[in-house]
Amino acid sequence: MPRRLLLAILLLIAAPLVLLGWSSVRGLRNENLIAKQRLTQLLEQRLLESEPALRAVIDRYERDLSTRLAVLSGPKLLDALRDLERTDPIVRSTLLLQASGAVVHPAEPLSDELSQRNRYAALLSLAASRPAISQAGDSTLTKSAPVLRPLWQPWFMDQGLQLVLWMPKENDVVVGILLERSRWIADLIAVSPQSRSDSSSDYPRRTSTPTKETTGYSELVDEQQRTIYRWGDSPPTDLPRLAQVVVAAPLSNWKLCYHGDLATLSPNASATTIWLPLIATLVVLASLGAYVLTSTQRQMRLARDQVSFAGQVSHELRTPLTNIRLYADLAKSDIESLDDSAVKQKIRPRLDVIAQESERLGGLVSGVLEFIRGDSSAAVLHPRNVDLGEAIDQIIEPFLPGFAAAGIVCERQDNHSGLVCIDPNILRIVLVNLLGNVEKYAAQGQYVRVESGVNDAQAIVRVCDRGPGIAAKHRRHVFEAFARLDNSTSAPSGTGIGLAIALAAAKRHGGDLVIKPSSPPGVCFELTLPIKPLAKRDSPCR
């Protein structure tokens, strides 16, 4: 029993802990998710801070090249384009197209060199794929004040993205400038933050603040996801990508990414936030459990003490009882040998009462012992052929003087005649208890009715009184040991185990003892005992 209790308490402690742990893990996960999202947002914001510098580089090209070619036209324009190709580090090739789309510059190469020819072919295909820019310039709406804005075209050749700047000129002439890819990449790198800078130098320098305290690096990634440039703390192994932002057009397929170790970046309190409440709850629950366990154990020890006390008392009573019965019997036989006299007539019935009462007491005591020990030796039944009505009468007889004294009318009814095979001792234990209770608790009803019958191979005995009865809510408890409905000192004396003993006896016989619903006042107990087949002659029936 204590082990089961211990398990129950452990379960009681574990269940909320598991629940709490689970919910806090979930909460933590949610929190981490939110923190991660927030972190991603933060990192994206930081990455976005680097982005305008990149855009500024492209804008600068647009501005510089537009300015250089702004007012030029005709042969001067062609010379300017040749000069650009030759001297401007950012210019790789230039194109000059007429309104018809005819390529004025570059001219078809005279040289045999394959690289020159390939480049020419590539530039022709670039000219063919140019965006419709001139149409926008001379549409009827804008004819009065043509807005000749340069236009960027992303174009793919050689290693990847190439930038081409188209500039519409007067008379629908279009100038295209293919930028030197490596150069604008180098320029983008030059404006990007550096990894570690020399703080002692006089030159102001941009540093990568988001990566100062944690391991992580930022990257500029091209349209094929190749790293172009990296800055920050770069460990030997690659880290997962935590955030990315897209670079503005014309580099629209390029991205700025942040790679880092999430563990070092996210809030580090995860372990304590989860363990602290768990441990606190564990402590509270465990101390509560310990309290419950110890108090329950104390209660149980008390009950056990009560039982063992009752057992000891009963045991102690046995010997004097036996002696009383022995001497009562001796006195009776002594009296039989005396001459008849008035004294003898008076004494004999008194000795009989002594003998019967002591026998009843003996039965009670052995009932108590049996109940306490759960004695297997006592559990053996001794059924024999009995006349039910007669047996009941015998049991009632010793009570009659008491009933009479208390003014209780005892009514009898037997709905069966003949022999049944039951253990009369069981019947006795039960009835003695029930009648004793009537005498003790239901005397005010001044009535008891004992009826018997046989039904479906069961002997049925009912004991009904007109006493105060038992409230419905107590009915379940009256059969429990030491359950007394009134514990006040004014209550009638009693051990509190009578009905428990009676029920245990009935169960041992395979029968039952229940409270029958009856019209108040009073209470009506019904004992059912299964009947064994009748035995031959007077031998025990089995």
């Binding site: 580090p89 290693q159 990449i185 180098a186 790198i189 920050g232």
Partner: protein, 462 residues
Amino acid sequence: MTQLRFFLAIAATMSLYGLTPTTATADQSVGVTATVSTPTMLADQKNMTFLRVALDGPVLIADAKRPPVNVAIVIDKSGSMGGPRIEQAKLAAIAAVERLRNNDIVSIVLYDSVIEVLVPSTKATDRESIIQKIRTVQVGSSTALFAGVAAGAAEVRKFLDRSSVNRVILLSDGIANVGPSSPMELADLGRSLAKENISVSTLGVGQGYNEDLMMQLASASSGNHVFIEDEASLVAIFNREFDTLMSVVASEIRIDIKLPESVRPVRVLGTDASIDGRNVAIPLTQLYSGQNRYFIIELEVNAAAAGKEAKVADVSVSYTNTDSKVRETRQMAVASQFTTSAEVVENDTNLETLAYATVLVSTERNRMATALRDAGKVSEAQALLNINAIDLFKCAASCEAKNVTSVVPMLKENVVENRLQTDEIVDSEKWNSSRKRMIEYQNGNLQQQVYDGGYRSSSTKP
């Protein structure tokens, strides 16, 4: 190559006396010559000819006065540089910084997977603190070569003076693996930097670097490319690089060749020149003291009648004299005679020009041999090298016969080099190393580089 020997001899002598080679004084200017290999051509048929435009940097005696240099030293500190290599690199950088003067500008950029500007572009007045910083360098992980060069160039650009000497010196022993990493992308960057008169010298250390990438980057920006097999020679090589750097006599060089209608440009040998119709423009960032820099343009001349003289090309070379900061221009026209006599044509052949053209043509074949060897075609590659050796040898023989001795040592050296390579390329295990030597040799020829990694010094150099 002769010039190289000569220069090295002088440099060696001068360093003996604790002197450094310096630049031209105002009265000494760059010599420009333009010649065709066939001053007389056969009449009434199309003729192929080589036009040679040569720039001779004047060799000058030591002078404490030299133009300031603006140099970015870009050092690879990726993991492979660990150990003695980074230590030697640091020593080399320190030695270089010690040679600077107060009005020079220096910056030091380190890169692994990310860029670190160790010393932002600054006047080299407090050299001791720069050296202190160099001493703190430790190795990192991967190799962001492109960004390293870009950052180095950005540092140089802060104090960019186009008429001065601007250089990024890249020291690397590894393959670029973060950022753009193809030889073409690096060449594009080099070409772009050359337009700003910034050149990139690439020093490849050990067996692990990508020689194609390093060579093309240097070549596109007229920088030097050197294969440093043993890091122990790093300090010496760095010193030589600085020797050349400090001996620049002309910068911002523009070479323009205008061809008449009757002449067609076929190609420019070994140089990525821009050919726009009949205008050929050749980029060159600088000319060193004592350097004989030349370009060979293959031309196709239309048929002309015998006895006629026809213009082949107008050559214009302009440059800034780094000492006087004066912009100087040389212009000349090259013409040819036409005759019906093959003998006259033969006799009139400019053997010197032909010899230089032969060297460049053989160098182009040498590059093809490298490609063939890459494809595992050893015998085909050997056949090409053999053709080279024979061609060069024949050329040397006819030069000797005609008493044109100035080019003979150069031709013979190339014969020897091609012969040696014929044997060296066989061994697959040594191919990595031989290939780096081959690339260095090719670049040396194409750029008339004034010094090399010194690999052949024991075998072929006097």
